[in-house]
């Protein structure tokens, strides 16, 4: 049997990176043609995707076409916590949010600290087929912070791990961090640090400041993040390694990264959507849906991370999508789990905070949500490359977004298996209309597309895995 040919699509009057409307043809898994509306040759049987809400897009309100989004920081919870999320449900949520690739964090049970476990997660991602799954390897065995996991074996495995992180825990031992930074140079890897000085954050529940003082919750001081970032950028400079800072959250952290980049240190940084918009004031009602690590900070920090993202100090937005079952959030604040979901709201939050405010263009959005994360994760080249330009011949990993739409967010109706969104009850701008993974629609008309049905229509077997 020949390789199945994905369905062909023609996207009418869409605006790549928010520029002038064009027609785009997707065929054989790649972008086959781009041309002025009505001028492109359309293959037989291609599915028409009409233009934006106004029908033409000529007044600048049509659908915006972006390279498929890439998340460098996702918790898919499988294996171990399938009650919160599975690779299948999490990547389905990713597709709904416009993502075509996610990096699955290592804090699963068992931990993603061996070639066997990362290959399992990688394979589950392929079978699910909603988005490419790139497992992140643990830096230390069992995230224990005591000895290096087999980083080389994970790098050499079928999962080709390039990002290593103990996320959820900080690699706090300076010698161990130095060794990890040095060791991953052999395979062009990167250590993604969860910057949290453990002694300064014992029992910590929320940002330490005015609100924590009033409501009596143990503080998580900004200095606990900043001191680790400062140490790590100096270590990276000393050993000439590549460092990535996960979910940076404070104004001081932005300053340190800005200083490090000015010095030529090879550091990249990410901010989460929630740290771009939410503040610690939300803890006042003790609703644990707002409990997250690092914690929500102050309005001053929110402004600093927006500025850092706009000026390039912060390279990417990553979701830190952290699904939890209801019982882990429907309880006392101090007993509740840290974390919030984010895959299905990330693009909307970035639009609201950065695009609608005039601080970034859609090309900048493509940079921070697709190109840069793909480059940091070293998935921007090769057979399943991501974060590529919207250009003829490139793989058809694409996200079509309607920026004029608004959505009311409701955790119970989201695609993720968990409901712990902090945006419940809020209206957010922008809606993902379609997502394409190598030319195959994972989302059409805002609804996730059952893959088996698409493949049957194209005369292909239900699962790629079945042919391997």
């Amino acid at each position: 049997m020949s390789t199945p040919t994905p369905q062909a699509y023609v996207l009418r009057g869409v605006r790549p990176y928010g520029t002038d409307p064009v027609d785009v043809v997707l065929a054989d898994g790649v972008i086959a043609a781009i041309g002025a509306p009505g001028t492109v040759e359309v293959p037989d049987g291609a599915t028409e995707i009409p233009a934006g809400s106004d029908g033409t897009g000529s007044d600048g309100t049509g659908l915006v076409l972006l390279p498929g989004l890439v998340d460098l920081h996702t918790h898919l919870r499988e294996p171990g916590r399938e009650d919160a999320e599975t690779v299948f449900s999490g990547t389905r949520a990713a597709a709904a949010g416009g993502f075509t690739a996610v990096h699955a964090m290592a804090n699963t049970t068992p931990t993603q600290d061996t070639a066997g476990v990362v290959e399992q997660v990688y394979r589950l991602g392929q079978e699910a087929g909603w988005a490419d799954v790139h497992p992140v390897g643990a830096v230390t065995v069992g995230l224990g912070g005591e000895r290096l996991a087999e980083l080389g074996a994970m790098a050499d495995s079928a999962a080709r791990v390039r990002v290593f992180s103990d996320d959820g825990k900080c690699v706090h031992d300076p010698v161990l961090m130095r060794r990890a930074l040095e060791y991953v140079k052999a395979f062009d890897g990167v250590v993604a640090q969860h910057a949290q000085e453990p002694r300064l954050t014992e029992g910590a529940q929320m940002n330490e400041g005015i609100v924590s003082a009033q409501i009596g919750l143990t503080g998580w001081p900004a200095v606990a993040e900043e001191s680790i970032i400062a140490r790590d950028v100096l270590l990276a400079e000393h050993v000439g390694s590549r460092l990535h800072v996960c979910h940076l959250s404070t104004a001081g952290s932005v300053e340190i990264v800005r200083w490090a980049k000015g010095r030529g240190i090879n550091v990249t940084a990410e901010v989460t959507p929630h740290h771009l918009v939410l503040t610690d004031d939300l803890a006042r009602d003790y609703d644990p849906v707002f409990k997250v690590n690092p914690p929500l900070r102050t309005a001053k920090d929110v402004e600093a991370v927006r500025e850092g993202l706009a000026d390039g100090t912060i390279d990417i937005v990553a979701t830190d999508h952290a699904p939890h079952p209801v019982e882990d959030k429907d309880c006392e604040w101090s007993s509740a789990a840290f974390g919030m979901t984010g895959l299905e709201t990330a693009l909307s939050v970035v639009q609201q905070t950065m695009v609608d405010t005039g601080r970034m263009t859609w090309a900048d959005v493509a940079r921070v949500l697709s190109e840069n994360p793909a480059r940091i994760g070293r998935i921007d080249e090769g057979p399943a490359s991501q974060g590529r330009p919207v250009a003829v011949g490139e793989p058809a990993n694409l996200t079509l977004v309607d920026p004029a739409a608004t959505r009311a967010i409701d955790g119970r109706t989201q695609v993720t298996a968990s409901s712990n969104t902090p945006f419940g009850g809020m209206e957010l701008p922008g809606r993902v209309v379609a997502t394409f993974l190598r030319g195959r629609a994972t989302v059409l008309d805002g609804v996730v597309v059952d893959r088996a049905a698409v493949d049957r229509a194209a005369g292909a077997p239900a699962f790629e895995g079945a042919t391997r």
Partner: protein, 341 residues
Amino acid sequence: MKHLLTTQGMSKDDAILLLDTSAQMAATQSRENKKLPTLRGRTVVNLFYEDSTRTRISFETAAKRLSADVINFSAKGSSVSKGESLKDTALTLHAMGADAVVVRHSASGAAHQLAHAGWLDAGVLNAGDGMHQHPTQALLDAFTIRRHLVGNVGADGRGADTSVGADLAGLRIAIVGDVLHSRVARSNVYLLHTLGAEVTLIAPPTLVPVGVEMWPCRVSYHLDETLEQWQPDAVMMLRVQRERMSGGSGAFFPSPMEYSRKFGFDGRRLAVLPDHAIVMHPGPMNRGLEISADAADHPRSVIVEQVANGVAVRMAALYLLLSGDDSASTEKTSTDERNAL
């Protein structure tokens, strides 16, 4: 008043109503028959997740003096210790028809969640939540201060309380000790400020929270200097937990001796105060650490009276929570009914 969760944001009118109602309750407690029929047929649950015999007994006494049925639900020996969640416990109490829940919990915000998470309809009375609030403690402290320093009651407890309707304007109150971990300090700072008093917190810098600059009070690191120069009308000592000085590099102060020397209250420091000043402590005391025996047992110490006033204040709080209809503000609580006490 549907719930009593915090003193932060409490209106001055509500605070004075609570104090005045407490005075009426206190007056009934000198009768031979201390029991009032007011809450007959109502059910009050004491839901205690933390050991606190003193506070529990105070609430239990208050509820029984008002003729309410009292159910004590303690975390030990109940389903809570088997892992039942706060939510399930709340649903159970709701199903059993509790009219008011008095809750003590180690988690800050537990009382707020019980009141607002939709698990239960009952009025919620916060009897201490983590490091957050303990509003009836602040009310009984304010009540005690008002009786002595505004009313005519002497340090010996004799004399008529002429302070009904008054606030605490112009009084200077020093709160000394572990402010960082103290729900008593947080509750008092806001209530005393609302009532017009000036508050100074006195503690080593390690026991003052980051963010204290937004509290309506001043902060001093020096007990002797503040007592001499500021001349407070009342000194409120906070309990220092023994574990605060252990933990090696995480200890909050070097030694109990040093703490005692710099922040302990004793006869010498008492002698520096004005003659009318009173000494307070929420209990239980660490004698010899934050307060010496001669200060604790001094005639100007009102520590035992604080306990007695605690019952009157809790009677007032339960009465105001349970006797009004759900939506009514405290002002609408029947004055006749209160006068009939």
